[in-house]
């Protein structure tokens, strides 16, 4: 056995994409669960924004029923936007992100894991609470189910698209407002299909096509967004 062979034999196994996703997802989930108050604040923000709409437009049941899907979706968009800075900014500030970028795992995989954890700790709770809020707007049975399913399919895409914006604005002046300007136009199709799914059920049409489109957007964003985010992270770290 030559010395080189010995080195090769002792080297750790090559770091794969799935390992990277699993590692960074579990790390970020652990971190998220240690600051439960932050997650609670986000959920409360969602509930409060939704509650403000009936106070603003009046308690007319027919009007609220018509507004409900749109209001719930716009509030999810805002909540997602509000939660985006925590995706990368704190890791960037203390240098962890640089270490992550240097690790043998592929960076897009690590980013995908972070996004998955971000969605589990922010988007998933919103989708779970939303039927309760939908009840306040007079949505019923099937409509509530479709609302929750649409949010389950749509909010991961919001996290994926938002991650690109979050990475581009790392360490940039006027980050918060700029992030909204970059990300919200990209959210438009998700808003349309998501709210459209619930409205289609409200008027007696099936929501199949909208849900399929949301799923298609999720798959496309799931493939493209981690790569774009990783590129943006590398630019920020230069």
């Amino acid at each position: 056995m030559t010395p080189l062979d010995a080195v090769i034999a002792e080297a750790p196994p090559p770091a794969g994409a799935w390992g990277g996703i699993a590692w960074s997802a579990s790390r970020d989930l652990k971190l998220a669960l240690r600051s439960k108050a932050e997650l609670g604040v986000l959920l409360l923000f969602y509930v409060i924004v939704v509650t403000l709409f009936p106070l603003g437009v009046g308690p007319e049941p027919a009007l609220l029923r018509a507004l409900g899907p749109g209001v719930l979706w716009v509030a999810s968009l805002l909540a997602s936007l509000l939660s985006l800075p925590r995706l990368l900014a704190s890791d960037f500030a203390d240098g962890t992100l640089e270490q992550i970028a240097l690790s043998p795992f592929p960076l897009p995989a690590l980013i995908a894991g972070k996004i998955a954890a971000h969605w589990t700790s922010t988007g998933l709770p919103l989708a779970v609470v939303s039927p309760l809020l939908g009840l306040q707007f007079g949505l019923r049975g099937d409509e509530l189910v479709v609302l929750a399913v649409a949010l389950l399919l749509g909010t991961p895409t919001l996290s994926l698209l938002g991650a690109i914006g979050a990475a581009l604005t790392l360490g940039v002046r006027a980050g918060g407002g700029l992030l909204a300007l970059l990300v919200l136009p990209l959210y438009v199709p998700i808003l349309i299909f998501g709210a459209g799914a619930v409205e289609a059920v409200c008027v007696g049409l099936g929501a199949g096509s909208q849900l399929s489109l949301l799923a298609a957007a999720l798959l496309a964003a799931g493939v493209g967004a981690p790569v774009a985010t990783a590129a943006a992270v590398r630019i920020a770290l230069e």
């Binding site: 690109i164 581009l168 604005t169 940039v172 002046r173 006027a174 980050g175 700029l178 300007l181 970059l182 919200l184 136009p185 990209l186 438009v188 199709p189 349309i192 299909f193 459209g196 409205e199 289609a200 957007a217 493209g224 774009a228 590129a231 943006a232 630019i235 920020a236 230069e238």
Partner: protein, 250 residues
Amino acid sequence: MTTASINWFRFASPASFFPLAGRLIPWFATSAAILAAVALWLGFAVAPTDATQGEAYRIIFIHVPAAWMSMFIYLVMAFWCAMSLTLNTRLAAMMAQALAPTGALFTFLALWTGALWGKPTWGTYWAWDARMTSELILLFLYFGYMALRHAIDDPRRADRASAVLALVGAVNVPIIYFSVKWWNTLHQGATVSLTTAPKMAAVMLTGMLVMAFAAWFYSIAMALMRVRAIILEREKHTNWVADAARQRAQ
């Protein structure tokens, strides 16, 4: 490398592109002015009054070319951004930076003239028509691009970050357009649709096309002027800029 092949990358250097741009600007600017004058003459003197919309339709000669340019410039900008990311050329990023304000201007013009056109013909300044809505979102994309550039101090980082954003936006523009179009057909019934406009007289189409070329040449001239300013600003530490400035001063 053989001598017969043309060195396409010669003008990728800001130092050699700067004088070339300077020579090209008068040509594009003059053609733009002449074409614009011809198009206005066609539009206001030659084209007949529209049977259904009266004289108000004449804003089409500004509105449609502006709308075309707004989308076309975004694509060109995305192309230069892709070039700057893949080939890592500074000039490509500068071109993208120079195009953005002109693109935003045309987007704004398209929206503004659309509103002025909508009032007499549809009876409203703004309808949530698919084209209008996606044009508005396109304006936001331009603003986002310029704001991101503006927020990053290091020009190289600004180049690359805004290039990623422009490419993500370019992928999204068609998705946004179709989603808005579909949303629109779900929601509204009564508004007049642009797509069912009556067949257009040949002279109107000619006027519009000539104006589109005028807008195109104007955009090129403006982008070249702006890119010259950007080159000077970003290369001010180099010897050739100092030499050029000295020659100008003499």
